[in-house]
């Protein structure tokens, strides 16, 4: 689909959204945000750039949709099974020696990773002493995360991921089919706390032993990545863990010297 909105107009829109609503997308990677803005513009059949600006300024319902669409909300349960295997065998058993385990899922989107974590903690018998803070910039995806309803069509893939990650139960035991959706067990939600949080503008709100932020930083430019790393550093206890997506790295960042990477995994442990 051909782009109808120029780079200059993208800047105008991003500045409008920041000034009028406080969402700052100006430090997002340009190619991705341009592609998504052009996509929303086309599928919503907005007649002109001026019309788009007007709608974003005056129609808060539309602004909500727009923000949700230009941020990427694709996520999976047990994505990268080998990563979850290391959580199961190494990271979580270590954290299990603490009286209380605080985990922050930063940029959790619709919550698939939070539910994956809850399943791991249940199976390791650690869930009762854990707290899972799940945050995202979009209130609407958090609403979906809170419901714990995921497309039934995905369950085959998730079940395979779960088994590859070292799970040995029937994955279907964690949900019940509800028309085209899988409704996850209510008890998985007991220790989850959902809240909006904007990594670009909001500060630290607690200290954690594990921060999960996978496939979020790839959308940020280098400066914003550096700011978010320092936010994470300020929110992580000593000997705590930071987990990133399979193509993201803490190396080369200003906080790198305070961390040690776990073998080849995208997990870094904060040094004493």
């Amino acid at each position: 689909m051909e782009y109808k909105i120029s780079d200059e107009d993208i800047e105008v829109i991003l500045n409008d959204i920041f000034e009028q609503h406080g969402y700052d997308f100006t430090d997002y990677s340009k190619a991705s945000i341009k592609r998504r803005i052009n996509w929303v513009y086309a599928v919503d059949k907005i007649p002109s750039f001026a019309e788009l600006r007007y709608k974003l300024k005056h129609d808060t319902g539309y602004l909500k949709r727009f923000v949700e669409e230009i941020t990427v909300n694709v996520t999976e349960m047990f994505r990268d099974p080998s990563f979850y295997q290391v959580l199961r065998k190494d990271v979580l058993p270590t954290l299990g020696t603490y009286p209380l385990i605080r985990i922050w899922h930063a940029g959790c989107s619709t919550g698939e990773e939070v539910y994956s974590m809850a399943i791991l903690l249940k199976e390791l018998n650690l869930y009762h002493k854990s707290l899972l803070y799940a945050t995202d910039i979009n209130p609407s995806v958090l609403e979906r995360a809170r419901k714990g309803l995921f497309p039934l069509a995905q369950m085959k893939q998730y079940s395979e991921n779960y088994i590859l990650s070292g799970g040995n139960r029937e994955f279907s035991h964690y949900y019940s089919a509800n028309y085209s959706m899988a409704k996850f067990d209510e008890t998985l939600k007991e220790k989850m706390i959902f809240s909006t949080h904007n990594l670009v503008s909001d500060g630290s709100f607690n200290e954690f032993q594990l921060i999960m932020c996978r496939n979020v930083l790839i959308y940020f430019d280098t400066d914003l990545q550096a700011r978010v790393f320092s936010l994470f550093d300020g929110s992580l206890e000593k000997l705590g863990y930071l987990a990133l997506g399979s193509k993201e790295t803490l190396n080369f960042s200003t906080i790198a010297s305070k961390y040690k990477q776990l073998n080849k995994q995208k997990i870094w442990r904060k040094l004493l």
Partner: protein
């Protein structure tokens, strides 16, 4: 119409039946003063350092899996990682994107072609090879529209004709490459990128 702008980026997109041509092509590319080459191949989303190894074993150029923020450099081949879209930025760095599949594909050839054209305009050379997917045709047309150079594998000697044919059905690419000669595509790239 003669397009003479110096090529700054080559992007090769392929799906079913394209691997052999890609392997041959990277092995015959000029090893000095070759512009950056990006390769987007449809495949399963499993861990696949083996494909990068396979390519690395066939080329003198520096082969690496494309990472986010990587700066495009000459004499280097960048393989789009499995299960991410690969986008080209205007500052000639790369971005990865785990958004919805496009044409049932991630990486999508359309996404890389389009962002390459946005970033490099007429200095971009994009090639679409064998495949059973509709991916790539629209992106290639956009490259053409932005005055970049386009080539497709001749459908009559593609293992799966559908993908290059989709592009030809949309517009007239600059080159239709007869790949019965295993060196043909590399020769074309080498000749277009000679200084």
């Amino acid at each position: 119409m003669e397009k003479t702008a110096l090529i700054g980026l080559v992007v090769i997109g392929g799906s079913a039946g394209s691997l052999d041509i890609i392997l041959n092509t990277v092995s015959f590319l000029r090893s000095k003063n070759c512009p950056p080459v990006i390769i987007v191949i449809h495949r399963k989303n499993s861990d696949d350092s083996s494909l990068a190894d396979l390519l690395a074993g066939r080329t003198q150029l520096k082969l690496k899996e494309a990472g986010e923020k990587d700066r495009l450099k000459p004499d280097s081949v960048y393989l789009a990682p499995a299960d991410y879209h690969l986008l080209v930025e205007k500052d000639h760095t790369l971005s990865l994107d785990f958004s919805e599949k496009v044409n049932y594909s991630r990486p999508s050839i359309d996404v890389t072609f389009q962002t390459a054209a946005e970033a490099f305009g007429e200095k971009c050379f994009c090639i679409l090879l064998s495949g059973a997917s509709a991916d790539g045709a629209e992106g290639l047309q956009l490259v053409n529209k932005m005055k970049g150079i386009t080539a497709v594998q001749d459908p009559s000697n593609a293992e799966v004709a559908f993908m290059p044919q989709q592009a030809i059905d949309r517009f007239q690419p600059d080159y239709i490459v007869d790949t019965t000669d295993p060196k043909a595509l590399a020769n074309l790239i080498n000749s277009l990128t000679a200084k």
